[in-house]
Amino acid sequence: MTALMTDTWWMTARRLKAWIRQPALLVITLVQPAIWLFLFGNLFKKVVQLPGFGSGSYLDYLVPGVVVMSAVSSSMWAGMGAIEEIDRGTLNRFLVTPVRRSAIMNANLVEQAVSTAVQSLLIVLLAWAAGAEFSGGIGGVAVLVVASVLLGAVFAAMSNTFGMLIRQRETIIGLSVFLLLPLTFLSSAFMAPALMPEWMRHVAAANPLNWALDTARAALSASPDWGIVVIHGAWLLALAVVMVGLSIRTFRTYQKTV
């Protein structure tokens, strides 16, 4: 156990060092969420007046949607890093050292978690500066960040698995092109579920992105519904555990094809 922890620590430190070396990247990942916030925030300002929408300010409503969408969007690129490390031979170099396989994957996850958390917090700050209000307070924001980190883990693990198995950059690009927008629009990110067509509501109920939003919105409301937070959060956690387990198993498949 301690060996796994020290392995994870060193592998994570390597990733975070690389990450800190390019602060520009963080700014770039914030451009898109900012555009969503201000464009959609203004374009659909009046949406809240629709009967049944049930929220005072559209910007307030939009923030969790943009946070969660951005978490998915950036996590889906994780597989690119995996492919790059395979192509360069870095992964193989690690695999012939005594380092635990799970430590390699843990390091990916921790890096992903840290960057998703930072990104989410920055979006929240951006929105707050633009006048958004967070009735749920610090606790609500914390739940939002945790939910987006878990959701990020789900998609980062999925992307890593595809990257290691298929080893083609096009697959990763395809994955995000095909999944990101449908997942986002088949959720409560931009539109209240009450106003969705019936079939869409059913699809949304099975959408992990929506689970994260349910969790976050329940915690962010003026009177948080902790039951929903716990139950939907637990679904999300369970899915993240399954996906991460799957991605660690992928190492074995990978080593058969080396």
Binding site: R14, N92, F94, V258
Partner: protein, 313 residues
């Protein structure tokens, strides 16, 4: 006990590329074995199996006494690997690469710092140690790769084509370095290469791989010595039937082989055999473009065992 021992390794990659076909080899303690073969012969696949990166379909192997299939963890602790592709992290500095590598073997603190400093110094990387590896020259990067393989003082070192892609100057420097490593009695080295001169120069013993199996094995001097006498190479003006038969009639000329316009044979005394050989060909009405006589080289060893010239394999 051998440092490396492999028996009957076989591996087929889907959909049906036979990379290894019953390969066996040994490397003694403190020995340098040169695994020599053309591209695609199965050298890297052998290294991948012996270093626990991948598994053979059948066969067995032990490294430093540990079974690679049953005790991969034990094997990983005692081997150093310099693979064909550099595995260094280009975004990290040379020093950080070395420090991380040390951490992964459980080294830490002052001992690791000192070890890293020594290696940087020894491989002439002191000046660039603080720079990102992506700014390194090919030679610097390759020297860092070797240093990475040595951080934990392995008992068995695997060098997969350590000089491929280097310019002549960088190659000479790398040879120098490997020769020094070879002097270490504690460490066994398995070196793969597709350069005949490299195997000749660095390896105490050479194993020639062709199509996934070892076709000849021994000290370079002995392998060449087995080819008694000199190599006679004759190039014809054009491919002609009957050339081989005509040459075979010359006394003292053996093992005639034809490869298009090129004839190769062995003769106890090459210089003495040339006039008779030319006369025999002339008599048969075959036009000769050039004749060379050479001391046997590993290329000739390869030709004898694999049935074709190394460069054409």
């Amino acid at each position: 006990m051998h440092a490396v021992e492999a028996h009957d390794l076989a591996k087929t990659y889907p959909p049906g590329t036979k990379a290894l076909d019953g390969l066996g080899l040994t490397v003694g303690q403190g020995e340098v074995l040169g695994l020599l073969g053309p591209n695609g012969a199965g050298k890297t696949t052998t290294v991948k199996i012996l270093t626990t990166l991948t598994r053979p379909d059948s066969g067995s192997a032990r490294v430093a006494g540990h079974d690679v299939l049953r005790r991969p963890d034990a094997v990983r602790r005692v081997i150093g690997v310099v693979s064909q592709r550099s595995g260094a992290d280009p975004a990290a500095t040379g020093r950080d690469n070395l420090l991380l590598q040390g951490h992964l073997y459980g080294l830490a603190g002052a001992a690791l710092k000192e070890r890293t400093a020594r290696l940087l110094d020894r491989f002439d990387l002191g000046e660039v140690a603080g720079r990102q590896v992506k700014t390194y020259s090919g030679g610097q990067q390759r020297r860092l790769d070797v240093a990475l393989g040595l951080v934990h003082r392995p008992k068995v070192l695997f060098l997969d084509e350590p000089t491929t892609g280097l310019d002549p100057e960088a190659r000479a420097a790398m040879w120098e370095e490997i020769s020094r490593l070879a002097g270490d009695e504690e460490m066994a080295i398995l070196l793969t290469t597709h350069y005949l001169d490299e195997a000749d120069r660095l390896a105490g013993r050479v194993a020639i791989v062709d199509a996934g199996r070892i076709v000849a094995e021994g000290a370079p001097g002995r392998l060449k010595g087995e080819l008694r006498g000199d190599a006679v190479h004759i190039e014809l003006k054009e491919e002609t039937a009957g050339a081989s038969e005509a040459l075979s009639t010359v006394p003292g000329v053996r093992e005639v082989q034809v490869d298009g316009r090129r004839l190769s044979a062995r003769a106890d005394d090459g210089a003495a055999a040339v006039p008779a050989a030319l006369a025999a060909l002339d008599h048969a009405g075959i036009a000769v473009a050039s004749v060379t006589v050479a001391r046997p080289s590993l290329d000739d060893v390869y030709l004898k065992h694999a049935g074709r010239r190394f460069a054409e394999a």
